[in-house]
Each structure stands twice: as structure tokens, then as C-alpha cells.
């Protein structure tokens, strides 16, 4: 495997690789081929693939003309916060299982992963303050609205379904991935619509 091969991969490839590996680890855990702690540590280790995902995303931004110094700072900040979130979650779960913690320490450890979530919000807010390009700022705000719409819509809908015992309980920590998915889908939809408009006007 060479650097050139890695550099040619698209963001979709890395997202697929992360989801594929997570699915494989979850599958091995379900059939008891690996223990719970091992599966959590392996899941957390897939976080290293976030770096090539970020680099592939930046190459796409360069090609599509949506890059700026603030975007670069945002990407690095989000990568650091995401890795801290994964590490915090991994450490919290591993410590709770391995050390059998109780009382205030358990509360503190269980709350550990929320710190990087606030860091993500701060990175996003700083980006909106730093970005000099008003259209890119507009895109970031619209993406956030998309993330918020998906999160609030899905959480409320799931809550109503749960109320009538139609679906099982969903863990609250899913809110961050759902928010990120909503932002990603909104960016993809806007980029797709811009490409169609550009092709039509060319």
C-alpha cells in the first residue's frame, strides 16, 4: 500500500471502511467471538481512520472550491474533538467494566465523553466567527440546521414511537452521530444541487 493509493481514496471509501469495520466488530461481538471490552477498544481504534477521511475531505473541498484557512482549522479541531470523544467513550466504558467503579467516580467517568461534545460545538462556533467567506459561513449554518432538523425530528418521532411501545429504547448518545449525519447529508445535498445548477448554466 503506498501513499499514492491512500491519497486517491474518496471520503466515501473511508466512511465505508469505518462503517464496515464497526459492523465486523459488532458482528464478532454478537457471536461472542470477542469480548465486550475488546470490541469497544477495537471500535475506538477505528477512529484512526478519521485522519485519512479528513484528508480526503480536504482534497474534495480543494477541488470544489469550498476550502479556506478557517475550514482547515475547523477540520483539525473537529478531528481532535472526535478522537477525544471516541477515546473518552472507550476509557469510560473500559474503566467501568474493568474496574467496577461506583458512586461519584462512576458519575464523573460516565460524563467524560460530553467534554469533547462541547469542544465540537466550540470548534463550530469559532469557525462561524472566523470564516471570512460569507457563502461558506452560510453553508455551515445551513448544514447545522440540517443536522438539527434530523436530530430533533428523529428524536421526537422515536420518542413518540417509544411512548406507544412500537420501538425499543434508543440510547441518548446517538444524538451526536445523528447530528453529524444530518450535517453531512445537508452538505452533500447542497453540493449536488450546486453541481446540477452549474452543469445547467454551463
Amino acid at each position: 500500500m503506498t501513499d499514492g493509493w491512500i491519497e486517491r481514496r474518496s471520503p466515501g471509501f473511508w466512511i465505508g471502511a469505518i462503517l464496515g469495520l464497526m459492523g465486523l466488530i459488532a458482528g464478532l461481538s454478537v457471536i461472542d467471538a470477542i469480548g465486550k471490552t475488546t470490541s469497544i477498544l477495537l471500535m475506538a481504534s477505528t477512529g484512526v481512520l478519521l485522519y485519512p477521511l479528513m484528508k480526503a475531505g480536504e482534497r474534495c473541498e480543494d477541488r470544489s472550491g469550498t476550502s479556506s484557512p478557517a475550514v482547515r482549522r475547523y477540520n483539525r479541531g473537529m478531528l481532535a474533538a472526535s478522537l477525544a470523544y471516541i477515546a473518552g467513550l472507550g476509557i469510560a466504558v473500559w474503566l467501568t467494566r474493568a474496574a467496577g467503579l461506583e458512586g461519584p467516580i462512576l458519575w464523573a467517568i460516565a460524563a467524560l465523553p460530553i467534554l469533547p461534545i462541547f469542544a465540537m460545538i466550540w470548534v463550530m462556533a469559532r469557525y462561524i466567527m472566523d470564516e471570512q467567506d460569507e457563502y461558506l459561513r452560510h453553508l455551515a449554518i445551513m448544514s447545522n440546521m440540517g443536522g438539527l432538523a434530523l436530530l430533533m425530528g428523529l428524536a421526537s418521532l422515536w420518542g413518540f414511537f417509544e411512548e406507544f411501545e412500537l420501538v425499543p429504547h434508543a440510547p441518548g448518545w446517538l444524538s451526536v452521530p445523528v447530528w453529524a449525519l444530518g450535517m453531512g447529508l445537508t452538505r452533500w445535498w447542497i453540493a449536488r444541487s450546486n453541481r446540477a445548477e452549474q452543469a445547467g448554466g454551463a
Partner: protein
Amino acid sequence: MKNRLRVLRAMKEWSQQDLAQRLEVSRQSVNAIETGKYDPSLPLAFRIADVFELTIEEIFLREEEDAKAED
């Protein structure tokens, strides 16, 4: 809001990237403004007007002007 950005840019033989560099914005911003997907703020509209050495009204068209032009 419609505008004449694409035509004016073509007259200068500038690519979207050339104009983006002159305006110190991303190429995607130029594309979004040209296609009418995004209306620029007043400061950016003034910068665009300065780059083309025109007034804002000579670049951006009011809705009624646009309708008249189409008749």
C-alpha cells in the same frame, strides 16, 4: 436576484477561480452568486462592483427589471 456576473466575467475572460481570487472568496461562492443560489451581502456586492468598475445596479437586477428584460 438575477445578475450579470457570468456575462461580465466572460467579457473579462476570467474563470470563476480568477474572479474568486480577486474578490478573496471561494470559487464556490462565485458559483453560488452567479447561479442566483446566494445573494451577496452589501459589502461583497460593493467589492464585486469595484472589481468590474461598475455600479451595483449594473450587475444585480431588481426583479421587475428582470421581468422587463425577459418581455
